[in-house]
Symmetry: D2
Subunit: 377 residues, 4 copies
């Protein structure tokens, strides 16, 4: 693990997600750019001191020199955005597979280089767009792919949070501090942090690609350095239209990612905060409540569940599904087998490039007087 | 009543709404442009034949000649949009107050003339934007006006319906037929029919005015003559941003008008289909469920309720609130008293003009390559 | 109308319910046992003074002497329980049909006499168990009757309210005063007031009859004279079991009547406070959300709706359905036609007898050490 | 681990729950009474063959002989009910702490012996009543304990499942097979399996003890050998009344445990299937939605959460909280420190005895003609 030392948020989440299924064990870490903090953090995680490295460069060099049985199998990178690219490139060069938090890099250019390196090395990169790990999201994607709703016509995705309603970066909130700092986060705050999740979810479920957008990007809280809010009109490659809202100043909201998709014959609706329910609507019949863990679900949904119906799984299990599928893919490959389609169902470097392209396009559109922007990669 | 003959939808709704509180009685009608249909319709409504007129012109002329005790007190116009202006103008000229369905006229020009006539005559015009008649909408407006949420920053309003998901105007659906016919409906279908409701609700609750917009207006179902879908970016006069979605091709949706408004300190959420609940969110405290009929509500909400808490009121009662307030206003004036603020709380000719301006601006923006359009009246 | 003068609750509800469909007009009233109050009340309702009687006896005598065209068609009795029997008997004796609030009488003995009188006279009595007037309740009943769920096995009905959480009868609450006074309400408070609604709803939807019960009846608030809370085990005539909870000390609850019924193949759930939704559950398929106003509903549900789907109807419309069906029945009979099954779908004197039997049995069981009590009539 | 071999349900759940927080590692197991199956199961769990024992007796003997660093720290028993007592007693005798699934034993007598053994040895026993591990359940308990609702007056708990709606034990369902077999499950099916959860939850949140009960216990599906359904009237030690429903023939229900508690000033409501929400109701103010992960929660709720608000945790995390608190207690003790109150917040042998007493009392009441049964231990 690179990053994720004491008091970090997402590092702890990654460790739980990796633990859940008993397939992955924390082996070593460069938890902080400060070697002392790294060692302290590792100790709290029951790691021997020898496995707490002072830098990721040292970790890669040392681990790659160990016999296969003793060295780490892959690297997880959970640093802020600006510190994704260098360790990821180096990990791939040393021959390690990579798990990396989204957005993949600081810029689209970096993302393309990383994508290229992945292709060259044939290694596996997993990008943790958590929300596509939920079983009912996979059920939704499958029902759309099976053409149950006819041609998709409209996609509405919204992702309101309220935690940046005040200038919390000036009030000692560490999460706020780096996420609103262009040197750490890149050219976008809100759109990079959560807008990318919304866009990825919309494309993942609908099977469509955003082809044009028209963005209203805002800094609502005075004194902030990056966008904290935005509304985006969308066009998709099949002609469908859509809307994407992401906001971190929606005061009183927690993490309220919701998506509605409409086709010719019906539609579906999913709320991340009640993730085990998928609402399926029909133009001429009662709506249906699809629920996780039931026998009537598709295989892909079942493959990504652990509990019987009515025993709710949540965010950590969705996250764990990314890790599980990634781990099963590695396991399969290590046994010389082709991973199944179900195992390969996790976001990868191509999704990372699309995510970075979304950020660059949406921010450019926000600054422009031109109405419709082509989604360029 | 002008219009609202046999098989008409909104005419029946108006009659129920007017009946509920026992303040208004159906006195006479020109229910159809066909005198026979008019008489038949009136008979079904227990009207004597003498009160079923063959035309509104005849009705106004005859009624205005009767002694005050025997003539109608006001006119309700429930015809399709194209047939609003002429009877409304004539009614005002004859000295009758007017209730009129939205959108107020076929064009902004007509709306301004009607507004002018209302001013000149001093008569009362009530425009039936039903959704602003709900008690919890009034509670929401009051809480915003009382500055409970601080400055309003964001408004999200959506109004998806699914009933035009197919080309039902070609399948004998009468409602679909006139609503998608430019000669009957005007320049807009969906935006005129339901987009105006959404815009009015957003302005009514927030107390803000739309100042700019950027619209994506679509005809999704092939062969249709007017828009059936649209997404609009909004700017309000206080700098807040917003989004408005209206669609009649959201397959599987009934009449799912929802609004979310966010201020500095919290926000609120209201769903028309569960109208007795107002969700109030706070940045630092548990969200609250305000419910109709409770003692903790503001006076204006209570004034517009009839039942104790937990005894749900609905669409017809919201509609009836417009009629009740209008009737109480007339009653007050007839007794030489000034109507109270609560009585005067119904949409009027000024709202009608804003509604028509919304339609003209949103359609013009939809056709334009310019990103932001000023909201011109 | 007998009762329902100024400041009365249920009288106003009855008038609105009767108004809604334009089939019924308030003709005259004995609104209070105080002639002055009766006149004042009538005046507020726009009745001429001659139609405001000083007593119901006077009203019946006078009205029955008028020509058919000028006299009232039926009597509505909205007085407290103790004052139901005498005016109802007298009305029937004078040849008037009767609408009467539940519970029908003060005792089972009275109820049986009234039932007998109804049979003898051939007149129509409508008992206003409002909740069976909701369209989705009728849909539920139809689906059970159509055997969609197989044999019914279990019924869970609960009716918590919180308005008697304190000793409000000693704090000037008029509703609380008579409802907790044995001389006005009879032998039961909570079970008579709302337990009867719950029992009627359970039997109405399930098509079953309660055959045994075991009751825990409580006076929770110290100083109260009648039960304000109770839990009851039930057995039904087909062997199904059930549970009925009614409470008026469920602090924080409004009027939260809910019912769940389970059969061999699935079940259903309905909440009075969101009455346009009926949840239908299946053992091997996704649950379905049946919604009022849709084309897929049964005729009986549609017959009891006024608005398109998504335009919520509520308590007053459910109440109005009782009046509408009653009025259509009278109209039919007055035209010499047999009323249809749909018209006759309102609670009648037989239901009133069952309701009074429920009260007597449940209170007797509550006082007894015997576990199971036969439901005796 | 004792039990939990291939295809077992609850064993896998225990392993995930133990994994989540990285505090516990699977060390060894006697996964099946069949040594081959035990080895196979262990292999799938990445255990070396030497750690897959053929019997729990062998495992205890061998492990207890190892140096402290190399031996297991505690035993988890996840066998069917009939096979809880013997391994638990033996484990304690060998000096191992114990985690055991509920109900604790096959009979109340066994439970008391186990409780006695725990006292004698001073070892720790954790009983996995999962539902008391949810953060919002702990929040609820704290609010009641803080007297926010005044004296508790009424408790309504229901636990409907539908998975035994047919005679699935005769259709090859292994879970159904042992759970409906008296020799494996004891004297009760439904009440032992889920009724105990409901009773424990009611007592845990309310802080009250059941003092009397009156039970209707049913075998609904013909041919079944143990109860699959029951309704129970309750009295609590402070005079409050209540109702407990548990059913496994509630066709179409998943795992729908719900609880409502009412005090003098308000009440609360929690649904296991949406566990991150706690509804708090007030007699004179809007209801509040308490949500997991927020700053306004009590310490005990926060201590049992892992994710920020809006990132849902579920059943596995609730289960993991029991393990985490148990592990922290062991850790504390191993470091010679007194565990904190928060660490000790998991069900123990005393709760196990109450659970077994509930089963014996409720079944005895079900068979009796006596109305009220004292809750005897």
């Amino acid at each position: 693990m690179v990053g994720g030392g004491q008091h970090a948020f997402i590092g702890a989440i990654h460790r739980i997600a990796a633990n859940i299924d008993g397939l992955i064990e924390l082996h070593c870490g460069a938890f902080s750019s400060n070697p002392e903090t790294s060692k302290e953090s590792g100790k709290e995680l029951f790691l021997p001191e020898s496995k707490c490295y002072g830098s990721y460069a040292e970790m890669f060099a040392t681990e790659s020199g160990l016999p296969k049985e003793q060295r780490m199998d892959f690297v997880t990178i959970v640093t802020p955005n600006f510190a994704h690219f260098a360790p990821a490139m180096m990990a791939l060069e040393y021959g390690f597979h990579v798990v990396i938090d989204k957005p993949m890099t600081l810029s689209l250019g970096e993302a393309k280089q990383l994508q290229q390196k992945v292709k060259e090395t044939g290694l596996i990169l997993c990008l943790t767009h958590t929300y596509s790990g939920y079983p009912m999201v996979k059920q939704a994607r499958k029902m759309v792919a099976d053409n149950q709703f006819g041609k998709i016509r409209k996609v509405m995705v919204e992702y309101p949070q309220g935690w940046l309603s005040t200038l919390s970066e000036s009030e000692g909130n560490k999460q706020a501090l780096w996420r609103t700092d262009p040197s750490k986060s890149g050219i976008s705050g809100c759109m990079g942090d959560i807008g990318t999740h919304a866009a990825q979810l919309a494309e993942y479920i609908s099977g469509l690609k955003i082809s044009k957008l028209c963005a209203d990007i805002n800094i609502v809280v005075e004194g902030r350095n990056l966008d904290d809010d935005g509304n985006v009109l969308l066009k998709f490659d099949n002609g469908a239209n859509g809307i994407l809202v992401a906001s971190q100043i929606a005061s009183g909201e927690e993490n309220s990612l919701k998506i509605k998709i409409y086709g010719e014959k019906g539609g579906l609706e999913w709320h991340q905060m009640e993730p085990n329910t998928l609402l399926v609507k029909w133009s001429d019949a009662p709506a249906q409540i699809y629920r996780a863990g039931n026998g009537y679900l598709s295989n892909i949904a079942t493959f990504n569940s652990r509990t019987p119906s009515g025993h709710p799984e949540g965010y950590l299990e969705a996250f764990a599904n990314l890790y599980k599928n990634f781990a099963l893919t590695l396991l399969s490959k290590s046994e010389g087998k082709e991973p199944t389609e179900e195992m390969l169902d996790f976001p990868n470097a191509d999704d990372g490039v699309r995510g970075m392209a979304f950020i660059e396009n949406v921010i450019a559109s926000g600054k422009s007087d031109q109405k419709w922007f082509d989604f360029n990669i």
